[in-house]
Symmetry: C2
Subunit: 183 residues, 2 copies
């Protein structure tokens, strides 16, 4: 999802002005995408340039502008809803990449990175559990679902890290002292 697509989705529910879009975007994404207001305006400029939105002077405040989605914009948005993101190449993930790199290309840091990452994830999981308990039913659907998603993700990552560690110790059996295998 790009900022562009996000803004179109919001504008599809009715006209908005820039600043408003910023806050709505952030709550809609459950806080995972803090957005500099400036970017909203530049993106809106591009959308206007491409004929996806139409801008009119807002009545309320002086100098306020109101953006409205056009037919073309609605079409682009529709196409985005329909599209299934290609899984080729798969989405890159910081954790995965770093661990991969560490395992094969750093004797000294391989295990360290894995274990540090694990404790980090365990901490995150705990924090999120507490957060979820605290939230209860309040705090917005998006925020709740994000908490849920991050927890599921963290659990999966933990299982994967175990896998990685297994491969690591198998590759470099206990007691080995850096026995050659430099490759």
């Amino acid at each position: 999802m790009t900022v562009r697509e996000g803004l179109l989705a919001l504008l599809n529910e009715g006209p908005r002005h820039g600043y408003q879009l910023k806050t709505e975007f952030e709550t809609a994404t459950g806080g995972v995408w803090p957005l500099n207001v400036g970017q909203v305006y530049t993106t809106l400029d591009r959308l206007e340039r491409d004929g996806m939105v139409r801008v009119t002077e807002g009545a309320a405040l002086p100098g306020q502008k109101v953006y409205e989605i056009t037919h073309q914009g609605a079409q682009e948005l529709g196409a985005w809803w329909e599209a299934v993101p290609a899984d080729e190449p798969p989405p890159r993930d910081e954790l995965m990449l770093k661990v991969l790199m560490a395992i094969e290309h750093s004797q000294e840091h391989g295990l360290n990175v894995v274990t540090r990452q694990r404790t980090e994830l365990l901490g995150l999981l705990q924090r999120k559990r507490r957060e979820r308990a605290a939230q209860g039913d309040a705090g917005g659907l998006a925020a709740r679902l994000v908490t849920e998603a991050l927890m599921a993700r963290a659990e999966a990552d933990l299982r994967w890290l175990d896998r990685c560690e297994a491969e690591l110790v198998q590759q470099r059996p206990t007691g080995t002292r850096d026995e050659g295998e430099k490759r």
Copy 2:
């Protein structure tokens, strides 16, 4: 992980030349990061500019250059190994964002996106299972671990999608019209 960090990690194992780094980078990341060679060179330029690598004329081919990590480069790399990626803001994920947006900001597409995403993930899971079986022990550690990671990830995402759907039907109780779901 940036290209910069990846290249440093590879160079830390010994001098390499640009083209070689490209292929190594790609196998190291298990194929999830196909890299245009050009980017390797521009990144190497920046690394040289910043004093992280030193370049010498390669002996083998004419015009070939060999890059070598410097003390400074090794330091930067070390810092990266030590660092734990901040979980604030959490890593953005296309699937999560799109579903979030769909659920709260698109009546017509909310359910569609979720279900389409689910079938997509189920398909992926199957493909990966087959892939894993085919791979066996061959095909490189990185590639194997990537398969494993993507499967774990997909399973977590599926569970999360169930969660989302539950919230959706609760939010929009059965019997509401609009059950048209055009598509």
